[in-house]
């Protein structure tokens, strides 16, 4: 009798491919790929059904380092290619990886449509506010005044907010993570994967060569407590070293303000409780900027709805059910025909 050996439990390292990683030493991408391998192990994800699809840029090298299926495609088009793959085989667990230029400049149109269609996949946007692979030009998320090889006296155009863009496109899952937060990032990835529909995750990623320290103002050890808020569904929106600060709707205004519990008669009851299904709240949380308000991190919005791939598959199933096994011979003979003797 054969005794079935239970499959060995996969470790994080089992999800790492044998390829030599080619990012710059100290790049935030190392931390993200590590967090992803941890996530995969925690989920015991089937590597043969997992696919990473990317465009072009530093972030887009990601698939080469995962021991899953991977497709490194062309600049900006990963979302479109991933949509085709998901339509063709809805069983696949598809993760799209792109940088800020890939996703929001050349690929902005495809990101818009993959989100509004609600294709069931995860879209990870590694935002480092710079074009790294082309040696440091400013990107669509760079702040006004960014000096770069193409803007030697500073950029003049306004940056786009990836999460506000995503919400505007109709994304039903919007989250944020920080590359170095190895405890939190896998949790965000797991939530993204369990969400049915397009899950959009912005990851603040440090480019050590061309834009080093661009997020220090809320990720530095000393800055985290007062400039970051970890949002969690059903929990009060508290932050600060001793969770003494909170967010509330400013009385008489349609805006959020930061308050301190114990000051001016403020109690915890005044503080907003995070409701990840509330799009208006999500929009306000995404718009927050330190130092006035903390940077919101975590699952900001999650409100599942029908997915494109399910809808499409249902139409095919319905079409197949409608008749007997279809015959092309029959189809070709439907309608007027005539016989030549």
């Amino acid at each position: 009798m054969n005794v079935a050996t239970p499959p060995a439990k996969l470790q994080a390292k089992d999800y790492a491919s044998d390829q030599e990683v080619r990012w710059c030493p100290g790049c935030g991408d190392y931390a993200i790929v590590r967090a992803m391998q941890v996530t995969m192990a925690e989920l015991q994800a089937d590597p043969s059904k997992t696919v990473f699809i990317s465009g072009i840029g530093c972030a887009a090298r990601f698939p080469y380092y995962m021991a899953t299926y991977g497709f490194h495609t062309i600049h900006g088009r990963a979302a479109a290619i991933a949509t085709g793959a998901k339509i063709a085989n809805p069983e696949l667990d598809i993760w799209v990886v792109g940088g800020d230029g890939d996703s929001l400049s050349i690929g902005g149109n495809h990101l818009l449509h993959v989100l509004r269609r609600n294709v069931n996949l995860q879209y990870l946007l590694f935002n480092n506010e710079i074009y790294g692979l082309t040696k440091g030009q400013y990107s669509p998320t760079s702040r006004v005044g960014t000096k770069s090889p193409s803007t030697p006296v500073g950029s003049v155009d306004n940056p786009v907010s990836p999460t506000l863009f995503a919400l505007g496109c109709g994304a039903r899952f919007v989250a944020r993570g920080v590359d170095t937060n190895q405890k939190h990032l896998p949790e965000v990835f797991k939530r993204a994967r369990s969400h049915i529909g397009a899950s959009f995750v912005e990851i603040f990623q440090n480019c050590i060569v061309y834009n080093d320290g661009v997020y220090d103002y809320f990720t530095e050890k000393d800055a985290v407590a007062d400039n970051q808020i970890m949002v969690e569904h059903g929990k009060p929106l508290l932050y600060g070293k001793d969770k003494q600060k909170g967010l509330r709707v400013k009385p008489g205004h349609f805006e959020i303000e930061s308050v301190t519990i114990g000051e001016n008669g403020i109690t915890e009851a005044d503080v907003l409780v995070h409701d990840e299904t509330n799009k208006m709240l999500a929009t306000m949380l995404c718009a927050m900027q330190p130092p006035a308000l903390p940077m919101a991190i975590g699952v900001i919005y999650c409100n599942p709805g029908p997915t494109y791939d399910e809808g499409l598959a249902a139409q095919v199933t319905e079409a197949k059910r409608a008749g007997a096994k279809p015959s092309l011979n029959e189809l070709l003979r439907k309608g007027p025909t005539w016989t030549i003797e």
Partner: protein, 618 residues
């Protein structure tokens, strides 16, 4: 006979072939009228070819010359190869239609004009200073000036339609009259009208009444002195027939191809004239394992098709020249990662937007050469609506057998035109099932078949074959990324050799009409097939040594083509471009071909090709 020998048909009751052209405003139902006449004519057993020609504007301002839509049908009791050079009968629903089309009607031809539409306002809009029906400018033509509008209103008044709806039935009145003229049965159109307006029987009945009134007008009243004609059933190959348009041929061929390859199809498209109809047609064939996806742009359509191929379906995308240009980067990726992909190009007049509803075959360079780097792929071209079916199957076969993108060239003319088609028994057509790779031992994604040089196709979801592919150069022996100099040379060579090697797996080039060797070969590709074929037949009937060669495989070309071309003293290449195939032929075979080029947005006339041949005969 078409072309060179003009025979006066009006003296005979029995005629061998006839060309009828309907023309009017885009809103006059000209295309529907033509479609019905086509079907009825097909059911009567005639061979036929059609040429729908319409403006890009959906509802151009009424009465204008640029808003004129037309439909030409050529039918006969013998084999018909083109939609005809000149109409024997022109049905002009308004002055603009007459203005645009009169120049094509030979003297002695019949003009049926709706005088009800020849108002001062319409005459002015069409650019007439006086009414051509009354000012003798139609002398030499047989003019049937009938107030079709008034007759139609009279015929349908019992059904209580609005004035606007009632006037719209006038195309059926005219159709009824033409049915009488050529002794055609009205039942098919009556049944069609009843089905089409099932929910509004008063509209169906009005249209039928109008058609019957038009017919009765010819039969019993004013036209009783006119001659009517009979065109006997054509002596064509026995079998079961239907009509088919190029778009239908492409759609059914793609379905048959994917079934033969044992793959589901993912079709991704973006609306563009004249290729959109393929998306429409395939979106109704979901039961055949076809998923259609209307993408956000041409790039996404090609990307999604490629993504579908990556996942193990056959990805197919379609467009016209400008859209193909946008897809080209993704096609380059398909070449680099060696995945199957079928790209249908329904060519139109360009450059840029050009003339979207007019035909041209000027994307041959784009198909063969139009990519960055050394990026070879296969190119095939259909020659007629029914040939679209077989060429689509061939495109799928090459794509899946050789793991390569294939560009399938059709054009606006054949896409919209229809012809009788002997319906094949698809069960007897060859199968070429895809075998996905599943063997773990020794696997890497760029393992190749020794004969075809195709790489293995291991789709995501296959246990233990996880791998990464991408646009970065791959190591020949592992598929891993590689920037190594010798390796890039080797990979470039193998990609080229793979595509060149397809020539070993396609039929040798045959001579369509005539024989290998001799005075002149006329070499064509695409929808010029019909006029070339008739022109060569006519010339041979006059004792001239002229042969026809028509290419399906544009890249790579059949192995014997060079030697075949060199067996003629002269090679003439008619093309609806400024000379693209000719460049490739000269480059490949050092054959000094003679171009015969037309870039007017209109198909070749037979006489134009005959004249071109005659010039070379000296």
């Amino acid at each position: 006979m078409e072309g060179s020998t003009a025979v006066d048909k009006r003296q005979r009751e029995e005629v061998e072939d006839v060309v009828v052209r309907f023309a009017g405003d885009s809103g006059d139902g000209v295309q529907i009228t033509g479609g019905q006449f086509t079907l009825t004519t097909a059911l009567a057993g005639n061979d036929l070819a059609t040429f729908p020609d319409f403006p890009a504007e959906i509802r151009a301002p009424t009465g204008t010359t640029f808003g004129v839509s037309s439909f030409q049908i050529h039918f006969g009791s013998r084999e018909i190869r083109t939609a005809g050079d000149q109409p024997d009968v022109l049905v002009a629903f308004n002055p603009a239609a007459l203005k645009v089309h009169l120049k094509d009607v030979p003297k002695g031809g019949m003009i049926i004009a709706d005088t009800g539409a020849f108002t001062d306002r319409n005459l002015k809009k069409a650019g007439f200073t006086t009414n051509p029906i009354e000012d003798n400018s139609l002398e030499g033509y047989r003019v049937l000036a009938i107030d079709i509008t008034k007759n139609t209103l009279e015929a349908v008044k019992q059904f209580g339609l609005s004035q606007k709806e009632a006037v719209r039935c006038k195309n059926m009145w005219a159709l009824g009259l033409v049915y009488w003229l050529y002794d055609r049965d009205r039942k098919q159109t009556g049944d069609w009208l009843t089905g089409r307006y099932g929910k509004r029987p008063e509209i169906a009945n009005s249209n039928i009444a109008a058609m019957n009134a038009g017919h009765a007008y010819g039969e019993t009243t004013e036209l009783s002195g006119e001659q009517s004609y009979r065109v006997q059933p054509a002596k064509i190959k026995s079998g079961l027939y239907r009509t088919v348009t190029g778009i239908e041929g492409l759609a059914y061929g793609l379905v048959q191809g994917t079934q033969a390859a044992d793959l589901p199809m993912t079709f991704a498209g973006y609306p563009i004239t004249p290729a959109s109809a393929l998306l429409h047609t395939l979106s109704r064939l979901k039961a055949f394992d076809v998923v259609t996806f209307q993408a956000e742009d041409e790039i996404a359509a090609c990307g999604a098709a490629l993504g579908a191929s990556y996942a193990g379906n056959l990805g197919v995308t379609a467009s016209s020249g400008p859209g193909i240009a946008l897809k080209m980067e993704a096609i380059g990726l398909a070449i680099g990662v060696e995945l199957p992909l079928v790209i249908v190009n329904v060519q139109r007049a360009g450059p840029s937007t050009g003339m979207p509803t007019k035909t041209e075959q000027s994307d041959l360079y784009q198909s063969v050469y139009g990519r960055n780097a050394d990026a070879p792929l296969a190119v095939v071209a259909a020659r007629s609506p029914s040939d679209c079916f077989y060429t689509a199957i061939e495109a799928v076969r090459i794509a899946t057998t050789f793991m390569t993108p294939v560009i399938l060239l059709a054009d606006g003319y054949m896409a919209n035109a229809s012809e009788p088609w002997e319906i094949p028994d698809v069960d007897t057509l060859p199968k070429f099932p895809v075998k996905f790779h599943t063997e773990k031992e020794g696997f890497h994604p760029f393992l190749r078949d020794d004969k075809t040089l195709a790489r293995v196709w291991a789709k995501p979801g296959t246990p233990d074959l996880q791998h990464r592919i991408g646009g970065i150069e791959k190591n020949y022996n592992s598929g891993d990324i590689s920037y190594e100099a010798d390796n890039h040379q080797k990979m470039t060579d193998v990609r080229k050799n793979k595509i060149d090697g397809i020539a070993n797996f396609i039929p040798e080039q045959e001579v369509e009409i005539g024989q290998a060797g001799g005075e002149i070969a006329v070499v064509g590709w695409g929808s010029t097939f019909g006029p070339i074929s008739r022109a060569v037949t006519n010339m041979r009937a006059q004792g001239k040594d002229v042969s026809q060669i028509h290419l399906r495989h544009i890249w790579p070309m059949p192995k014997n083509l060079g030697a075949l071309l060199k067996s003629y003293k002269k090679v003439i290449v008619p093309e609806m471009n400024t000379g693209q195939l000719i460049t490739v032929l000269r480059d490949r075979y050092m054959v000094d071909c003679i171009g015969l080029n037309k870039v007017s947005g209109q198909p070749f006339k037979i006489t134009e090709i005959e004249d071109g041949i005659r010039k070379q005969l000296g």
